[in-house]
């Protein structure tokens, strides 16, 4: 078990909005810009579709970091979804921090459909941060780990 932990490969869940960030990820792929294989993308219709339970549920199921990507403020396909998402995530992340959970584990980035390079950069950076933080211990569900 000890050895397994050493080469623990962090699992990252990325919620990507359908209109911008998911297309951005697509572009990153088609432009052969690499991003870590342990980033699992979940496509959502809009960043504001992401309910705080989604984030927590991702951690429960074994994610070590969760990132939410949406259209740039002002560019939301549904006019204002990402503004609401921004408020919600700010409050949620602040609460997680208040409960003593490492704030670096959660992140929000705005990535447009044209920003394949940014997507790849963000994911690489985030994966690196999570790697340094190590395994998610504070929001883990032991039942999912055995």
């Amino acid at each position: 078990m000890q050895e397994l932990n050493k080469e623990h490969k962090p699992l990252i869940v990325a919620f990507c909005c359908n209109w911008c960030s998911y297309a951005g990820a697509d572009l990153a792929g088609s432009s052969r810009l690499s991003y870590p294989a342990n980033v699992k993308i979940i496509r959502v219709p809009c960043s504001c579709r992401v309910n705080p339970t989604f984030i927590l549920k991702a951690f429960q199921k074994g994610a070590d970091g969760v990132i939410l990507c949406g259209c740039h403020p002002g560019d939301c396909h549904y006019t204002s979804g990402n503004y609401y998402a921004r408020r919600r995530m700010t409050l949620l992340f602040s609460m997680l921090d208040y409960l003593g959970i490492e704030r670096e584990r959660t992140r929000v980035e705005w990535v447009s459909a044209a920003e394949g390079a940014k997507f790849s950069k963000v994911m690489n950076e985030f994966a690196k941060t999570i790697c340094e933080l190590g395994e998610n211990k504070r929001l883990e569900d032991l039942r999912c780990k055995d």
């Binding site: 927590l56 921004r86 700010t90 409050l91 949620l92 602040s94 921090d97 929000v108 032991l142």
Partner: protein, 321 residues
């Protein structure tokens, strides 16, 4: 203070006998002086058992969600904090305002019976209230602040919605800052905060008292009761679940919570749940400007509103590392 109770009874009788309302939602005597329960009175005779004293801490607004939808008008006696909850319920269209006659009643802070025991008075057979002190069993005088609920020590609320006021003595605001403990926690290191909450939340027995008493929890079916939600659970089978429950519950009332403090009052394990709600309140105040849920129903709620220049989720200051 006994004058207030007399006035309360008179008012209730008057409202019922004049036919202005057909029932009164207030408090009923228990077996002791401290175990009063919310109750609905339909006749003047039934009001024999009605009571209003320092142990009437329960927030009656919660009951108005159902009561206001029934036939006829109901009179209710609301404390300042209750009126905030009621106002918020009006805003969310959860109560039928036309069916409710609100009497805003004076409140000098409500008691916690456990705080009485802590002072060492033993069995509390009777409590005579004064503005600043209470006389227990006719012999021991205790400072009123020493036995008040935490929420009353920080309360600065005044009635915000009423048809009539029943106030004899002006309310004294609590002196303490309600965010003091939140600030203290923020000043701790992340490890200390984690340890604090781990210990507190691990006491949770998932009795749902906090949820069921909360006037902001008005969903007809809670996500935690809904098997299709994939997060429903009846017990904290893992330390993750208690965090999930309390974070999500607090989040769902964020921007709607009036800080009435009922969740902390009813928790059988004395978990300071208000500290979660107050964190959201303090964050909302800091990030999006001062906001007090229930105070002004014309104002948009912070989570149903936005500005283009809002703080970015990665940029808040947060607690210490």
């Amino acid at each position: 203070m006994q004058r207030l109770e007399v006035a309360f009874l008179e008012k209730a009788k008057e409202l019922l006998s004049s036919g202005q309302v057909n029932r009164v939602l207030a408090y009923k005597k228990g077996e002791f002086c401290y175990d009063v329960s919310p109750a609905v009175f339909y006749s003047v005779e039934e009001l024999e058992n009605a009571v209003y004293n320092g142990f009437c801490g329960a927030n009656l607004s919660k009951y108005l969600i159902q009561e206001s939808k029934k036939e006829g008008k109901v009179a209710v006696f609301l404390k300042p904090c209750d009126t905030y909850s009621f106002n918020q319920l009006i805003k969310e269209h959860r109560v039928n305002r036309e069916n409710v006659y609100v009497v805003g009643i004076e409140c000098q802070g409500k008691f916690s019976i456990e705080k009485f025991y802590k002072t060492g008075v033993g069995f509390v057979a009777s409590v005579q209230e004064d503005l600043d002190s209470v006389l227990v069993n006719g012999e021991t005088k205790i400072d009123r602040n020493a036995v008040k609920l935490e929420r009353c020590l920080v309360c600065k609320k005044q009635h915000v919605v009423y048809d009539e006021l029943l106030v004899i003595n002006e309310k004294k605001d609590g002196d303490l800052d309600r965010f003091e403990m939140v600030k203290k926690l923020e000043a701790m290191t992340a490890d200390e905060r984690f340890a604090f909450w781990k210990e507190q939340l691990s006491k949770c027995i998932r009795c749902n008292a906090c949820r069921n008493v909360c006037p902001a929890c008005t969903c007809t079916k809670c996500v935690f009761d809904n098997d299709d939600s994939q997060i429903s659970s009846k017990a904290n089978a893992d330390s993750f679940e208690e965090k999930l429950f309390h974070i999500i519950r607090a989040f769902h009332v964020a921007g709607r919570c009036t800080d009435c403090g009922e969740c902390s009052r009813v928790c059988p394990q004395n978990i300071p749940l208000h500290l979660l709600n107050r964190k959201y309140i303090s964050d909302i105040n800091e990030f999006y400007g001062e906001f007090e849920a229930g105070k002004d129903i014309a104002q948009k709620g912070p989570l149903t509103n936005y500005t283009t220049g809002d703080i970015e989720p990665n940029d808040f200051k947060g607690g210490n590392k």
